[in-house]
C-alpha cells in the first residue's frame, strides 16, 4: 500500500504547517508576529478544508477568519499603542501550567481518539466526489426542514446585531468622560 499518495502528502504538509504555526502563534514573543502566525494557521486550515472539498467553507474561513478576525486583531494591536514592540516574556510558572494542561490533555484526548476506532478503511476519493454545491448550502441555510438551518441563521443575525451594538456601546468614549 502506498502511503505517500498526493492527498496524503498534502495532508501531512498542511498538518505540519498548522501545528507549526499554531505553536509559533502561542510562543512568539512579539504580538504582531504571533498574529501573523495565527493568520498562517488559519490559512492552512482553510487549505485543509479545500483538500476535503469544502470550497465554500474554505472561502469563508479565509474571508471571515483570516481576512476579518485577524485583521481585527491586528487593528487592535496597532490601536493599543506600543504593544507590538513589547517583548513577550512568559512567566515560567504559567508556562509550566500551560504545558502540563496541554500535554496531559492531549495525551488523554489522543489516546481516547485512537482507541475509539473509526472506520478502518475508506476511500477518500469516493468521499471527495461529493462536492458541496453552493445551492445546496444556500438551501440548507435557508430551509426549515430537518438538517436545514433557517432558525439558527436568523438567530445568529440577532447575535451579530447585539454584538455590534454592545461593542459600540462599550468601545465608544462616553461624552461624560470627555468633559
Amino acid at each position: 500500500m502506498e502511503l505517500l499518495t498526493a492527498s496524503n502528502i498534502i495532508f501531512f504538509i498542511l498538518a505540519a504547517a498548522i501545528l507549526l504555526f499554531g505553536i509559533l502563534t502561542v510562543t512568539s514573543t512579539k504580538i504582531l508576529r504571533s498574529a501573523t502566525y495565527l493568520f498562517f494557521t488559519l490559512f492552512c486550515i482553510a487549505g485543509l478544508y479545500l483538500q476535503l472539498n469544502y470550497e465554500f467553507l474554505a472561502a469563508v474561513q479565509l474571508s471571515v477568519y483570516a481576512g476579518g478576525i485577524v485583521i481585527l486583531i491586528v487593528f487592535a494591536i496597532l490601536l493599543i499603542k506600543g504593544l507590538g514592540e513589547d517583548k513577550e516574556i512568559n512567566i515560567g510558572q504559567r508556562r509550566i501550567m500551560g504545558l502540563v494542561a496541554a500535554i496531559v490533555g492531549s495525551i488523554t484526548c489522543a489516546s481516547v481518539i485512537i482507541k475509539f476506532g473509526f472506520m478502518p478503511d475508506y476511500d477518500l476519493a469516493d468521499l471527495m466526489v461529493q462536492t458541496v454545491d453552493m445551492k445546496v448550502i444556500g438551501k440548507t441555510l435557508m430551509g426549515t426542514n430537518q438538517y436545514e438551518y433557517l432558525l439558527p441563521f436568523e438567530a445568529v443575525s440577532v447575535l451579530l446585531l447585539a454584538c455590534i451594538i454592545g461593542s459600540i456601546a462599550i468601545a465608544t468614549k462616553d461624552k461624560e468622560d470627555n468633559k
Binding site: 494542561a101 496531559v104 490533555g105 488523554t108 481516547v112
Partner: protein, 651 residues
Amino acid sequence: MEQLASLAPYVLILPLCMFLILGLFGKKMCPKVSGILGTTVFGIVSVLCYYIAFKYFFSGDYQIGDTFQKVTLFNMEWLRMNQNLVISIGFLLDPLSAIMLIVISTVSLMVHIYSMGYMHGEGGFQRFYAILSLFSFAMLGLVVATNIFQMYIFWELVGVSSFLLISFYYFKHSAVRAAKKAFIVTRFADMFFLIGILILSYYTKTFDFGPLTQVTDGHVEIVNSTMSGVTLLGFPIISIAVFLIFLGGAGKSAMFPLHIWLPDAMEGPTPASALIHAATMVVAGVYLVARLFPIYSFEAPHVLEIIAYIGAFTSIFAAVIACAQTDIKRVLAFSTISQIAYMMVALGVSGYGGVDGLGYTASMWHLFTHAMFKALLFMAAGAIIHAVHSNEMDAMGNLRKKLPITHITFLIACLAIAGIPPFSGFFSKDEILVAAFETNKWVFAVEYFVAGLTAFYMFRLYYRIFWFGEPENGYEHEPHEAPLNMTFPLMFLAAVTVITGISWAFGKFSFTEFISSDYSSYEIHTHWNIALPSIGAGLVGILIATFLYLEKTGRPNKAVSYIKKPYIWAYNKFYIDEIYLYVTNNIIFQRICQPIAWFDRHIIDGFMNLLSWVTNKTSEETKEVQSGYVQQYAWVFIMGVITIVLLSINL
C-alpha cells in the same frame, strides 16, 4: 371499721393543709396565731391517731384470736405504672403502724407545744411550723404506707423536710452545710432503696405490702416463687434487693458508714432535732426493716445477720465517739445513732413468730421508749441551751438548782437510757440483749459493753451540765427555767417514760401483746440472768462518770491523758467526715466533675469549634484558588475537564 376509714384520711390531710396554709399565708399571720393554729390542728391529729390506735388495739374488731389483722383503711390509686404496678396512697393499719402513729403523734405534738416557747421570737416562726406540719404529714404518711412506693414517696418528703428544718437558720454557713450533707447522704442511701424497690418489684410485680409480707408455710410466697434461684454475680438477687433496701434505711437511720449527717444535723433548731433526728425520722430505717421483716427473715436471713453486725458495730462506734464529744447536742446525736443501731441489732437477731420474734418486739419496744426519752433529752437540752445560749459543755455546769424541772426530767431520761429499772429503757434494752444473747453471742457481747458505755457518756453529760461546777467565766445571764410550754412536754415525756417502765415492771402492760413479728401476742418474762449484769454494766458506767465528772477536778483530763490517741480519734469522730470530705471534694469534684466539665468544654465543644475553625481556615487558605488571574481560571477549568474525563472514561 367504717368509722376509722372515714377518720383516717384526716390524719394525713390535716397536716398537709396546715403546711399549705402556713406555707402560703404564714407571712401574713401573726407568729403566735400560726403557732397556736399549728399546734391545735396537730393536737386534733394526735387525738385521731390515739383514737385509731386505741380502737385498733382494744376494740377487738381487728383481732382474730390473738392475731392482729392488717387493715387497709383506704387506698387511693395515685399513679398506675402498668397493670400490676400501682402506686397508691393509702392507710395501712396494723400493730406496727399503730405504734408508730402513737410515737409520732406524741413526740410531734410535744415538739409543737415546746416550739411555741423555744422558737418564740425567732424569725421565720411560721415557716418553722409549716415545715413541722410538712414533716408530720410525711412521717405519718410513711408509717401508714400501704405499699413500698408510698413509703418511698413519704420517705423522700421526710428527707426534704429534714433538710428544710436543718437549714432553718439558712444564713449560717454551718447550718446550710449540715443540711446539704444530711440531704445528700440520705439521698445517696435512698438511691439504693429505690434500686432495691425496682429489683423487688421487677420480680414480684407488686409494690403492695400485703402480698410482700404475706407468710405462708415459712415463706413469703410471692417473693419466693419469683426470686428464689435467681442470682446476680453469685449473690441471690433477693438478698441484693433487700440489702439495698436496708441501705436506704441505713441512710435515714444513720447506720455506719452513712451516719455522718446526723451529728451535723444538730445545727437545726433543737425542737426539730428532737422530733426528727431523735425520735421519728431516724427510726424510719428500723421501721422499714420491720415492715419487710418477713422477707428478711425467710428469704434473706443472711442479710439480717449483716444488719445485726452493722448495727452492732455502729452502736459501739457511736457510743465511743459520744464519750468524747463536748457539744451536748452532739453527744445526744451519737447516742441516738448508737441506740438506733441497738434497734437494728434487735431486728438482726430476731426470728419470726412467737418467742423467736423477741428481737422484733424488743426493737419496736425500744423504738417506742427511745423515742420518748430521747425526745425528752433533746428538749431538755434545748431548754438548757435556751438558758445558757451555748451548746458547749464548758459553758454549763451546776445548773440543777437553776433549772429544776429540766434537771429532774433529764435525769429520768438518763436513767432510762442507761437501762436502770424501773424506767422504760431498761426493759426494752433488756429484751434486746436477751434476743441477742440467744442468737449471737458476739453481738451480745458488744451490745452489753455498749450498754455500759451508754450509761457512762449519758451520765458524763448529765454531770457536766447539772453538777461539775459553773463555767470559768460564770454565766452572762443568769440561767432560768424555761416557760411552761417548754417544760410541759418535758414533764409529759418523763411521765411516759416512767409510767411505761413501771407498768411493765408490774406486769400491767406487756408490749408483746401488741406487737410481735407475726402480730400474735405471746408471753415473755424479764430474764434476770441477763438483766442483772446489764444493770451492773449501767451502774459501772454511771459510777465511772460520777467519779470523773461529779465535781470539777482534774480527773477527766488525767483520764484522757491515759488514752490520748484514742480520745483524739474519738473526739474527731474517727475522721470519717474527713474521709467523706476527701472523697467528695478531691475525688468526685476534682477527679470526676472537673474533668468531665473540662472534657465537655474542650473536647466535645472543642470539636464543634474545631469544625467551624477548620471550615473558616479552609476558606481562608483556599482563597488563592480565586487568584484573580483569568489564565489560572482557564487552567483550573481545563484541568477540571481533563480530570473528569480521566475519571469517567473506561481505561
